[in-house]
Amino acid sequence: MYSFSGGSQLYNYTTAVADHLQLSSVLKTYETIIQPGRSERHYWRDLWRNRELMWILAMRDVSVRYKQTALGTAWGLIRPLSTMLVMVLVFQKIAKLPGDPGVPYPLMILGGITIWTFFSTAFTQISSSVTMNANLVTKVYFPRLIMPISAVAVSFVDFLVSLGLFILLAIYYQFLPDWHLLLLPFFILLAILAAFAFGLFFATINVRFRDVGQLIPFLMQIGFYACPIAYTSRTVANEWWYPIYILNPMVGIIDGFRWSLLGEQSFFNPQSLVASVVIISVCLVLSLYFFRKRESTFVDDI
């Protein structure tokens, strides 16, 4: 999948052999070689070895998130619920925008908010993951990718809460999902990959330029309106600029997510999904490459 994974697999094989040879002579001992530019080679193996650390850092973020708040996890419910109510009021009642026929407007909006908030929180957390852990970066070695990966946990917990809220609302509207639901994990995964594709890039930039901290809330605010969250893509599907509109990779993800929850009545254009997959794959590879390239200098710049 990535340009360097082939090489690292080959290397993993050779180190495995070397490890084995050493194991037979000195039990449980392995040799580390530190050289300029060498960290590359053990990277993916180290990442796997440190999976417990990844888990513990994720748990740390989750358990710290609502410490010393009176409402605690309830915040995970209050945010999407109140956003949804405001959006229904503004877009359905005041602006009188048409929704998808046969789909309750609040359900449509909550579906959009759920996946969008997941993406935007994950993206924001990933972007600040390295700088937030500056005290660790300067003192302990571990594959730096652990930080962005564990940063996703918090947004995923909020996502599950929001999804639970969606289920309750669907029961209230007596709305039954169909086979489309089976594709839901695919769209969730795609949202995570999108968060990495853009987040890793900004996480790397953030180490040097703290401007990123100012830029991201602003980007997310624009994104909220540039994506079909409070409205359906059906409203803009006939505009001449629609082909440009679907180049926003989140359009395909949001529409697809809603489509798998709400079924055929919800508007979904497979072309937008193709655009998403292509753009996200390209950006992910480039971001990952950039992150890995700069990683060894984090400690000097942070």
Partner: protein, 417 residues
């Protein structure tokens, strides 16, 4: 068997002189580039890059079971060396080969999250140090007992006293089971009882074959713990060998730095049109077998300055400051009338007065006991090393001064059994 081999390790930093310390913002980079694109006045305030070698061609090897001390002044490259060994920074050139698992304890409680409880932080910190979950679980009770925090396990560590915080941090790393352990300045904190326990624990560890690398400013602790010592100066490893020999030569070299400052031409001498310094000097009166300043050493501070006024009532006033800038004492000479000429003043500091530590001397020339004519800040800098005989405690001796006032004790009423 050598477990660590370091070959030709160097680490270079490029220092950008224009850059302030607050980090660059995108704007600085953009405006600089845009201005040059439009051919505007290049406001690049001499973007000079200076190469700085934090480490230069360092070679050494460490045998299994060695307890190695690393000594040297601030900025000598000790910490850089440790960071390379623990893979935090990459060397610019060279190779390090390490056999075995390394755990580095660079600062006690690294990664502790203030909001998490003691229990949660044990797992977090343990994982950061490279322990697996099952390893931590197995040693959990022992760690808690060693740190003595049983009652506070479910309290967030932000409510811990600093002593508890440090004890918990050290306890976790002391229960690590790596083949090689890197320790940087941990014993400077914590109470005496805990320090004794820690040194004991580290000795036990190395008796069981573990290799320890220990960086400390506390030479007494290095001497107590380490059998080998490396001495770094300005990024270079200048001596290595048996601890006692290396420390002796370190002390003799260290205390000769900056004990005299002399200005041969008036232009470069500190001062003004009225008075100007010529020479400041610290003259230690070493006891017979020593060649460095320690807490026993009496010393003289001598100041020579030119007076360019015809008649003036002058006196010298000297401040002795700790490295953190607190004034420990201030003494002055009597004010006397002087004509034009070279004047010298001398102050004697007895032995057994200053505690071990780093000190700076500032001196002021005062007219008519009220008007400061000139003040020279940080005219001299010197270190006082620790010395204790017949004391098995290695903790930092508290206080700025360490006088030997008469303090005796006697048996008043023996109980005859």
């Amino acid at each position: 068997m050598s477990v660590i081999t370091v070959e030709n390790i160097s680490k270079q930093y490029i220092i950008d002189h224009k850059k302030g310390k607050g980090g660059t913002t995108l704007r600085d980079v953009l405006t600089n580039n845009i201005q040059s694109i439009f051919g505007g006045r290049k406001q690049q305030q001499e973007l000079t890059h200076e190469e700085f070698w934090a480490l230069r061609d360092v070679n050494f090897s460490i045998e299994q079971g060695d307890r190695v001390g690393i000594v040297g002044h601030n900025g000598a490259g000790k910490s850089t060396m440790l960071k390379i060994l623990s893979k935090i920074i990459e060397p610019t050139t060279g190779t390090v080969k390490i056999k075995g698992r390394v755990a580095s304890l660079l600062e006690v409680g690294t990664g502790f999250h203030p909001e998490l409880t003691g229990r949660e932080n044990i797992f977090l910190n343990g994982a950061l140090l490279g322990m697996t979950r099952s390893e931590i679980k197995r040693q959990f009770d022992e760690i808690v007992a060693f740190a003595g925090v049983e009652k506070f396990l479910d309290t967030p560590v932000k409510r811990y006293s600093s002593g508890m915080y440090v004890r918990l941090g050290f306890a976790i790393s002391a229960h690590l089971d790596p083949e090689i352990m890197i320790v940087d300045e941990v014993l400077a904190v914590g109470d005496a009882e805990f320090q004794k326990k820690s040194i004991g624990k580290m000795r036990d560890n190395s008796a069981s074959g573990r290799t320890i690398i220990f960086v400390s400013h506390n030479l007494t602790a290095v001497q107590a713990l380490c059998n080998k010592t490396l001495y770094f100066e300005k990024g270079m490893l200048i001596e290595q060998g048996e601890t006692n020999e290396v420390i002796a030569s370190y002390l003799s070299k260290v205390s000769r730095t900056q004990l005299v400052r002399q200005w041969d031409t008036p232009e470069e001498a500190p001062g003004n049109d009225l008075v100007r310094f010529r020479r400041v000097e610290l003259i230690p009166d070493y006891p017979e077998d020593t060649t460095h300043i320690d807490v026993r050493t009496p010393m003289k501070l001598r100041f020579e300055f030119w007076n360019m006024m015809d008649h003036a009532n002058l006196n010298l006033s000297m401040h002795l400051n700790s490295l953190t800038g607190e004034c420990i004492f201030n003494v002055g000479t009597r004010s006397q009338p002087y004509g034009k000429g070279l004047i010298a003043g001398e102050c004697t500091i007895p032995g057994y007065f200053l505690n071990d530590g780093s000190y700076t001397v500032s001196v002021m020339i005062v007219k008519d006991t009220v008007t400061p004519l000139f003040m020279m800040d940080d005219g001299l800098t010197f270190d006082v090393e620790d010395y204790r005989a017949g004391i098995a405690w290695y903790g930092k001796w508290p206080g700025y001064v360490r006088p030997q006032f008469p303090f005796e004790m006697e048996m008043m009423e023996p109980v005859i059994s």
